[in-house]
Symmetry: C2
Subunit: 394 residues, 2 copies
């Protein structure tokens, strides 16, 4: 009889995969994914970049290359982190990964033994929960409000809990809530982190997708002890289908990620790294980001307006300044999983909120994505969800 | 103070990475890597395939896609496994991975808890050892000779050892020895495996690179109980820089690999999958394999002849029927690590053999690759190594 590792018990008990498969019907209005708008992908520019790479350095593109990643791409990433996030770094402190999901997986493997404690915002990104579960840690949720993580609560946990090995956070346009931490909260958080010297995984896939107000400094830019592991990705600013992300960390920590990368898949594909590097040499990535930012801002507005118009007043939702998601809270007695099934009957989908709590138990919330659907579908979808909510009100 | 997971102790203690970096000098004659011959890559054909994909289905290529992989590519792989290896399977039993290295990493995570036992040929592929180490197993080496794994020794281990969770083997043109299991050994092995019901990881990156004699049936083709997890890859038959491999396994086992893949990196890049699929629709992969097979056969011949001519008679080496590697055994008293440093001074490199023994301790062997160097460099490199060996003879 085949016996699996114990970690598989935790990984197979979620039923979210089944739901997401149901959602993947072609005729559905889906607010469930985190899909960028495919009609905005710079496909023709990428085609020209690919052509140039295979034409000029095709043998290099097709061959094995280093575990760390293509040097010119790592330089461009380091420069971009300086320009956009005020993070002082260089190519030597960047590891190219297969999307930032791989950075999450590696973070777990670098820091977490079975039973170790990982702290997260409550709620937090389900893909991170899923990645960390493979290391069988204990999850502790830190209370979080509209300003970010509650630092007093964090400090209380740190002062009373053994074996806290890392803290996972998404300070900008959080997944799933769309919330952004205030400057004050970031400073206080880093003050506590520096005191306790706990590694922080700062996941920032959406930071460049800010619709209004000024960019706030990344935690990594307030990191004198080199405790912050910053995860970035091209998935939301360029295309996700190339699966290119990166880890930026201090020397020793990054060397640990490199060891894991070596065993995990040797290296990220050479060809995709060279092509995205070539794209950035031939074209202006900032121009492209401007285009998607405007589109997503508009769609955010359409969704916010539709929710204000059609949702009953008992329903609360966040007003994100950027990113891809808003978070909806229903009255306590409505179960968003049951309601998801009713919405699917009307061909509309979202992700039920309980999956975003590592220890489960909160059933009256759900996550909505506004980047992937055109205006008319956003309005029609919100109207349909509003009807279902009304039918569930007491 | 930052504390890492315990697995990092095992992963960071090897110094082979330092050696491989030394070797990566541009002016070196390297027999160290497993590099395919870059000059044979079908770069122009791949360029046309990429062009077609981004021209015709660019938005799909740039978007997220399923964890399992692109259906048309999985169908082609299943068909190829039928045609080449007589394995009855279909697209539903294929998961696309980032090279077969990722399949190795996943195998460890699916089956191995800390302290569980994994069995391997002695010696075996160092990348597999490295991947499994992340799960902190106990490695047991099964004696192996020119005919393959010693099945009596295997059975003795299985009948006396608890917690054997998987057996990792490379029956065709093994890495590092170049050896191929006989038909009889394969049958006996599967008879024992079926009796004990232990999962087998059959790693077959080189199977199609056979220079002479008939193809022998894959273990996966003698697998009535669905115990064999077959790992394949495009790295050695097409190009490694796209990082495309696959896992073929029975329903339940494959679903476990899918769970791990989801948390590890969501999916293999959409764009590379579509491009290799397109390449296989537009061009004849078999024709390309014929070309590289002929070249590698020739290079094998050149290396064998040079070793017979120049190596002292005290040195033994294998005569592979295919694949990329031959395995050299020196007299007991010569340390191949020390000799590697002496060879590097003459600008020639190989991989010292001790890295291929999971429990270490055997220092008089080394692995030689013949696929990556042209004829003149093979001869010059062998002459240089022969000189160093002579200087070390007692």
């Amino acid at each position: 009889m085949v016996r699996y590792a114990k970690r598989m018990e935790q990984l197979t008990q979620s039923d979210i995969g089944d739901l997401l498969k149901l959602i993947a019907q072609p005729d559905i209005i889906s607010f469930a994914g985190g899909l960028p708008a495919a009609e905005l992908f710079p496909v023709e520019q990428l085609r020209q970049a690919c052509d140039a790479v295979l034409d000029q350095i095709g043998q290099v593109a097709c061959q094995y290359s280093s575990t760390e990643g293509f040097p010119a791409l790592r330089e461009k990433i380091a420069q971009r982190m300086k320009d956009k996030n005020n993070i002082e770094t260089d190519a030597d402190h960047i590891l190219i990964t297969s999307g930032s999901q791989q950075g999450l997986d590696f973070a777990g493997r670098v820091f977490l033994d079975k039973g170790d404690v990982v702290l997260m915002e409550s709620p937090s990104y389900l893909g991170a929960i899923n990645a960390f579960k493979g290391c069988e840690p204990t999850f502790l949720e830190v209370p979080t409000d509209d300003g970010g993580m509650n630092v007093e609560a964090l400090e209380k946990i740190l002062s009373t809990t053994e074996n806290v090995k890392m803290i996972y956070v998404i300070p900008d346009f959080q997944n799933p809530t769309g919330r952004t931490w205030t400057l004050e909260r970031r400073q206080k958080f880093m003050e506590v982190v520096n005191r306790y010297e706990i590694p922080v995984i700062e996941d920032n896939p959406y930071g460049e997708l800010r619709f209004e107000n000024d960019t706030l400094p990344a935690l990594k830019s307030m990191d004198p002890k080199g405790l912050v592991v910053y995860l970035g990705t091209f998935s939301k600013i360029l295309v996700p289908g190339y699966r290119l992300g990166w880890v930026c960390a201090s020397d020793e920590i990054l060397s640990m990620f490199n060891f894991i990368k070596q065993g995990a898949d040797l290296q990220t594909p050479t060809v995709t790294q060279l092509e995205v590097n070539q794209f950035m040499e031939m074209f202006d990535l900032d121009e492209h980001v401007d285009v998607i930012r405007e589109t997503y801002r508009h769609r955010r507005d359409v969704m916010m307006e539709a929710m204000e118009t059609y949702f009953p007043k008992e329903v609360k939702f966040t007003h994100p300044d950027g990113g891809l998601f808003t978070w909806v809270e229903l009255p306590d007695y409505i179960n968003s999983r049951d309601m998801a099934v009713q919405c699917l009957e009307k061909k509309v989908a979202y992700v039920p909120g309980d999956s975003f709590f590592p220890n489960g138990g909160k059933y009256n919330c759900f996550r909505m994505n506004y980047s992937g659907m055109p205006d008319d579908k956003i309005v029609a979808g919100i109207q349909a969800i509003a009807e279902v909510i009304r039918a569930n009100l007491k």
